[in-house]
Amino acid sequence: MNIYLPIAEISVNAFTLLGLGGIVGILSGMFGVGGGFLLTPLLFFIGVPPAVAVATGANQIVASSVSGVLAHLRRRTVDLKMGVVLQVGGLMGAACGIAVFNYLKSLGQVDLFVTLCYVVFLGIVGGLMFIESVNALRKSRRGAPPKRKQRGWVHKMPLKTRFRTSQLYISVIPPILVGFLVGILTAVMGVGGGFIMVPAMIYVLGIPTKVVIGTSLFQIITVTGATTMMHAITNQTVDIVLAFLLLVGGVVGAQFGTRLGSYLKAEQLRILLAVIVLAVCGKLGLDLLLEPSELYSITNVARG
């Protein structure tokens, strides 16, 4: 069954979109990532114009994150206080990120920069997470309890607050900084940023993995919600029909994902996420290195 998308102005199969949404939803529920890093390239692949894909992807992620967060809230694995602190940093970062993005756009080559950002960040994050999780899994097999690293500088800062759900007593400055940096990347790369936020929360802030996922989803809602509004107002590229089909698949997928995630060990979850991140990174990297079959591409200039 084909559906004509009013903003993207293309006709696509409705079941393809439901399926895409479902896959991304499962990932979102399992790992606490929005799935934007996967959804956006997949939408390009089925022919959705890039500007529409980025804006609509953000809207879809809002839905699957809400669905995922509610499931996590009932299991009490969301640190609301930490989430709010991260959001404050995230929104400030996103505002700066938009400025950086527009500056790059004026220089041209913004596509290349975004792809390079993806390859570099997905590569680093995926690689580190993979190595760390494999080591942790080996240690836990040998019977030694996994030791959480306590980073000195995180604990020496002022404005200490207790984050009860995360069982942490740290300064609010590091979470704001983490939120800020991720916010910049979010705006530049046009994704929720979960795939950077999750590792940052685990490795830099030392938040337990189980709490990280719910909290990251909670944080993503605000960032992607703001992104959706920004795109709707400035570029008019949010396609409600496209978003609706994706999110119907997505919210169902997120529920399954959350359930699936609770059957796996934290280390196994992280290895799986690392493998997916590395696979996307590899694909984008190859696209840059191999000669494309069509060297030319067309962009219509705004219709008058």
Binding site: Y4, N59, A63, V66, I240, A243, Y296, S297, R303
Partner: protein, 256 residues
Amino acid sequence: MRIIVTLLVSLLLALSTASAQEEVVLGLSQNQVEITTDFDGSEILIFGAVKRESPLPEGEPLHVLVTLSGPSVPAVVRRKGKRFGIWTNVDSVTVDRAPIFYAVATSAPFEEMLTLSNDRRYRVSIERAILSIGAKVAHEQAQDYVEALVRIRENQTKYALLENTVEVDQQTLFRTTIQMPPDLTEGEYTARILLTRGGQVIADHDSSIDVRKVGLERFLFTLSREQPVLYGLLALAIAMVSGWGASAIFRLLRNG
């Protein structure tokens, strides 16, 4: 006497021009294409007749050319090249105007129907329908970019040369169907009929086809342009409600 002769000559001239006159009477299966939510492409039937006030002229047979064209807009064509081992856009050309959709249907092989100079004058073939004079002045290799534009759009079935698809009956009745793709953009499309004999255009007629979104498509498109804040909030509200709804349904399913 002299006056009578001149009158007779002018009368004969008038008659001879009248006999050469062949006019197009056009019919279209639809003069409006409505893009609805389940829009899946559209087939336009273009048919008509040749009206003459005199017997069929001798000699070269009559040929019919039908073109269907979408709005023409400027397009940027970018070329990728290898820089520091990475494939990236290295150069671009802005083509002055290119139709977003263009199909040419003919009743015989294109070259036999229309001379090059007439093609230039009436801008019939795909290459001539694209305006690239400015681009050619600004860029040496502009021709490669225009060819790439045609190649890409032909692959997307947005441009097509459909030779021998116009049926001509008794040199009077003609008909053809042109398929419009599912990923159609709205705007005013033009159907054009050219009658040719021996490579010369003897009549030319256009008719417009209005392609527009209707119903839900129209409503959402207009809302997104005129009330972007409301549209954004609507998008967010749908997202939040369906996220919450799915969560509530799943909880009911698990508990019930």
